[in-house]
Amino acid sequence: MTDWKFTARQLVRNPLSLLGIIIIVIFVFIAIFAPLIAPTPESHQQRPYMIPRDGYRAQPEPPSEDHIFGTTQGQYDIFYGVIWGTRSAFRVGLVVIGIVVVIGILLGSLAGYFGGIVDEIIMRITDVFLAFPALILAMAIVAALGPSLNTVIIALTVVSWPSYARLIRGDILQVREEDYIEASRGLGASSARVILRHALPNAIYPTLIMASLDIGAVVLSAAALSFLGLGAPEGYADWGQLTSFARNWIVGPPGDPLKYWYAVTIPGLFILFFVLGWNLLGDAFRDIFDPRLARR
């Protein structure tokens, strides 16, 4: 456990990772308390994730008392959108990472432990998926299944599981060579037991941590898909979509080019900070886990 303490101390002592932690904590807070921070209007109770709108006019309105971040195209309230969008972001990120890690552990450990034909088959399948640039495959899947938040989750899962399966397989392969697995096998433990009890915990802690820190990247991809119009239905609280609403309002009328700055800047900053938080943490962890940069 001293290792964990050391890790924790490293994280807190490094200003960058500390900043990352703070950012993530703030976002977690926003996600949990979204209904308090941005209460859902009465008429919207049944569908809190749909951003309430104030009329149907296209032109964004600047921040005011009613809409502290202003409204974006179609009079969607930006504040409500970004606050509830935090929940959407966590949802996409956690679900995708969760599924991906489960699939990764399952297939990765199967491949890594049994090797041979099992390994070969699983690895060739990952080859197929890794043959596509990720976003393009995700785009194709979303387009084929019809754009929605769920298809985005499916698509991102499909494109990201192979690399985790490979990572975990690699970890398992490494551990398998180590003596104590042989030893426990010698004592008559079953393969599954060996994997579950010994190999997995030792092999994959770092991988798991790195995976969970990929939430930022997943959310970034989801936002990109949403921005391209291949995400949640219109009006759904989602950062990428809020950004895409601003696309036609990047430049204000002549003489006031930054008139609609809030429409594009605010949702973008939310994405940026969210991803930044995870990346800062990820960077710190990478240094901690990197044996090449072992502490001196």
Binding site: R57, Q59, Q73, G74, G235, V251, P253, G255
Partner: protein, 596 residues
């Protein structure tokens, strides 16, 4: 690393210097242009002398005049091809000769005789002859693209809607060459004016017979018809090639990027005012706006919602209050195809879907019509630049009844009707379905959302999901296979006659009514009677009657009839408005561009 620069450092510096070099001329260029005006933002510089640049969002589907039935295609065809006669400037009832020098109506024989202009050259070098005219019309009719414009030709000539069921002899007899004349035989005197109006459209364009045949088009014989009747889309030579007699000829078509026309030097009239006419495809507004303000575009499409953005710009030519002959409606399909249909939920009236015949109950339709907030739509969506038409016969058409019965926003009445619908089951169980608009059209989307929102407010078991689907690839297949439930669509007139609005909306064969299973033989007869009525008074009554039928049947929600606006840079001169010109940029041949 030492203070000295590495090789890489040098490369980066050189790269940056190159960038700076590139930026410099650009910078100085803008520096000269940016003369701030007191009000109305910076002056728009004069650019691209002799070139007309417009930025729009639609790309031509086809360049074949006999197949084209969309605005973007029609616009280019209008500039490249010519028709026998054309509307005289803005007036929709007066005509000027184009490829015809003279036209005479013979009431006894029901014939229109057109004298063909001499000395007109096609772009590829051919001379215009009466045979070309005959060939053009016959080709359009034997090709008869499904979903194309040809139905408009069959109706006046043969009282038919399509080639199926006719013979070549029938078609051949309607168009005959007589010396230097071409004689059209109409089926009824009621079509006299409509025929002239019809052939002003792009489908009346004259193509070069010899050139067409040489390039594998229909050879003019009956034997060759099966090869060309309803030929598959994209396979006709004319689909991607143009050879007209108009002031411009095709220069280059970069699919998805731009469409370029260049001046045709052997044009029979004064040469065209622009060396090039370039139509660029720019989907997003910011780029279009910036191009307009930077003088890179002379005309851009401005959606209603963006009007406040550029209203204050001094250097723009702002043209307002144009009476467009167009209407946007939401259609309710009374007989939905339920197989493989993702948009009707469970397909049952169980609160999670709707049955295929959901909209066949008039109470449902009327409930919907009362639930739409017409005023909010005009105010918020149209920014007060439009009106709510009571029926498809919109303002500006002969037959329009300003006092016709109309539906208004009335949630109480809506509730009343919806409670009565399907024996109270609708109210009790609720419904759920997906309404479709063509993605990118935010105005239609907003209209649907207003409706959905209001229905939800009446009873929150009424759930309408609003989803955008691409027009060509998403909506059209669903529409044509009767799978759309409630969908928004717009109609722009082909010719300025009430019939052109009644038929698509109310007849059994109509573009819209057919696909919402509205209409009956009886109604068709009423429509025909109104059309063929020669007495103006009587005709007016009959069209009024049709409007009342529309009100009683309540088949669709009439959302709005827009009032047109156009935006040019101030260097463009000579625009006049005619709702029948397919291109928004107007009559380019009569327009010009100069720095003054």
């Amino acid at each position: 690393m030492s203070k000295r620069l590495s090789k890489l450092g040098w490369i980066v510096i050189i790269a940056l210097l190159t960038l700076a070099l590139v930026a410099f001329p650009a910078c100085t260029q803008t520096g000269e242009e940016e003369e701030e005006e007191e009000n109305g933002g910076p002056a728009i510089p004069y650019k691209n002398d002799g070139i007309f640049v417009q930025m729009t969002i639609g790309e031509p589907e086809t360049l074949d005049p006999a197949a084209s039935y969309d605005n973007a295609s029609g616009e280019q065809i209008d500039l490249v091809y010519e028709t026998l006669v054309d509307y005289d400037r803005g007036a929709a009832g007066d005509f000027v000769g184009q490829l015809a020098t003279d036209w005479v109506w013979n009431a006894a024989d029901l014939t229109w005789t057109f004298t063909i202009r001499q000395g007109v050259k096609f772009h590829e070098g051919g001379d215009l002859s009466p045979e070309d005219v005959e060939y053009s019309f016959e080709r359009a009719m034997i090709y008869d693209r499904l979903g194309g414009p040809t139905w408009m030709l069959f109706e006046p000539l043969l009282l038919a809607g399509e080639y199926a069921g006719l013979t070549f002899a029938d078609v051949d007899a309607t168009v005959e060459v007589d010396g230097n004349n071409v004689v059209f035989t109409l089926a009824d005197a009621g079509y006299t004016l409509i025929w002239l109006q019809t052939i002003c459209g792009g489908w009346g364009s004259i193509v070069d017979k010899e050139w067409c045949i040489a390039n594998g088009e229909w050879d003019g014989t009956e034997a060759d018809i099966p090869n060309h009747y309803q030929q598959e889309d994209g396979t006709t030579y004319l689909w991607t090639h143009m050879n007209g007699t108009g002031p411009w000829k095709l220069n280059q078509w970069e699919h998805g990027v731009q469409f370029k026309l260049e001046r045709f030097d052997d044009y029979w009239r004064e040469p065209a005012p622009f060396d090039f006419v370039i139509s660029q495809l720019v989907e997003e507004w910011t780029t279009r706006k910036q191009a307009l303000l930077a003088g890179d575009a002379d005309f851009v499409l401005v959606d209603k919602m963006y009007i406040p953005e550029i209203e204050g710009v001094a250097d723009l030519l702002k043209i307002k209050d144009l009476g467009e002959l167009a209407v946007t409606s939401m259609f309710m399909n009374q007989d939905i195809e339920t197989e493989d249909n993702d948009y009707i939920g469970t397909g049952q009236l169980d609160g999670n879907g709707i049955p295929g015949d959901f909209f066949s109950d008039p109470d449902v339709r009327k409930g919907f019509l009362y639930a739409f907030d017409y005023e909010t739509a005009i105010r918020d969506i149209m920014l007060d630049e439009g009106i709510t038409p009571p029926s498809p016969i919109v303002e500006g058409l002969l037959g329009y009844n300003p006092d016709a019965s109309r539906y208004t926003y009335d949630l109480a009445k809506a509730e009343e009707h919806l409670k009565a619908a399907w024996g109270g089951q609708v109210w009790e169980k609720g419904f759920k379905f997906t309404a479709i608009y063509n993605s990118g059209n935010d105005m239609r989307k907003a209209a649907m959302e207003i409706l959905a929102e209001n229905l939800f407010e009446i009873n929150n078991k009424f759930q309408v999901a609003v989803v955008g689907l691409p027009w060509g690839t998403g909506m059209v297949p669903l529409l044509r296979s009767y799978r759309l439930v409630l969908y928004a669509c717009g109609w722009g007139g082909d010719y300025p006659h009430a019939h052109n609005f009644v038929a698509p909306f109310m007849s059994t064969y109509g573009t819209f009514s057919k696909f919402m299973s509205y209409g009956s033989a009886e109604l068709d007869a009423t429509i025909e009677a109104a059309l063929l009525e020669l007495d103006p008074e009587e005709q007016l009554d009959k069209y009024y009657e049709l409007q009342q039928i529309w009100y009683d049947d309540a088949p669709a929600i009439m959302c709005w009839q827009p009032t047109g606006r156009r935006w040019f840079t101030k260097y463009i001169h000579g625009f006049f408005f005619n709702p029948m010109i397919p291109g928004d940029a107007g009559p380019l041949y009569y327009m010009s561009k100069s720095a003054s």
